[in-house]
Symmetry: C2
Subunit: 133 residues, 2 copies
DNA sequence: CCTTGACCTTCCAGTAGCTGGAAGCCTTAC
DNA sequence: GTAAGGCTTCCAGCTACTGGAAGGTCAAGG
């Protein structure tokens, strides 16, 4: 099938699908006119990638997962390890964002939000040394 | 003061400080030999930027906040508006990450993680159409 | 047979926010 | 004088695409 159909079936943009070919994630056959020709299996891989991406895996992670997916001699332990480290990453990011949210909420609540120039948010940003990063 | 001192005082890397000059966020004076010469006020701005960055503001947001910070006729409402929309963004990202975390946790818990190839994580990735993105 | 429109192709540039490295001055200490 | 460390600029690269230009291909209609 042509690239547009593959794109629709995998719910990835045409540009993205072409990009995945370029970086050798999913390389379809080519027709004599140069057009990409996606097989059912190619589309299946594209869907797999989209799903993994939605779960926060990087393209490098995706590449690993895909090769494990296709390796019938894999051990489930190797997949579990990748997934667990991804959970750790996500939890770190969650904690960081939550701390940002808390700080910002306190600041917003202390700001009158009127026409006057006095602003506790800016004062705070100006006063304090950075606590993160 | 020279760029290294400014970098240390603001807790930003030398490269970053130079970059902020390049994108006209904080443009220090120059000595006759071409060296950047940071004033106390410049360093104060660098610190402000670092703090704002830690709270999740993009450099574009930072640019706005900095100009509001320096505008003595600003209204606190305009700052509050930016901060509130940033909180919204952060909350969206939090929800997304939390959903990833939950899904991944379920998958990891259902995976034996041994030497056998059977892996519910990969099966799940292969089976399902994407639900997000 | 020609044209039109919708495909497809490649290639180049740009996004955010830096980071690393090369080549080459400048300054300071020994 | 020279060596080490600063400083400068510029160029490339990172992630994961996206937009757009220039041009080839294909099917339908007149």
């Amino acid at each position: 099938m042509n690239i547009q159909q593959a794109s629709e079936q995998s719910d990835l943009s045409v540009k993205t699908v072409r990009y995945y070919d370029e970086i050798k994630l999913v390389e379809p056959a080519r027709l004599s006119n140069g057009y990409r020709d996606y097989s059912e299996n190619d589309v299946h891989k594209l869907k797999f990638l989209n799903r993994a991406k939605c779960l926060g895996f990087s393209l490098d992670d995706c590449r690993q997962l895909l090769s494990l997916y296709e390796d019938k001699n894999r051990s489930s332990a190797s997949v579990k390890k990748i997934a667990k480290s991804k959970i750790k990453e996500i939890e770190l990011k969650l904690a960081e964002l939550d701390s940002m949210r808390k700080t910002l909420t306190v600041l917003v609540n202390s700001c009158s939000g009127d026409d006057r120039p006095e602003c506790p948010i800016l004062e705070e940003l100006g006063k304090h040394p950075p606590k993160q990063n």
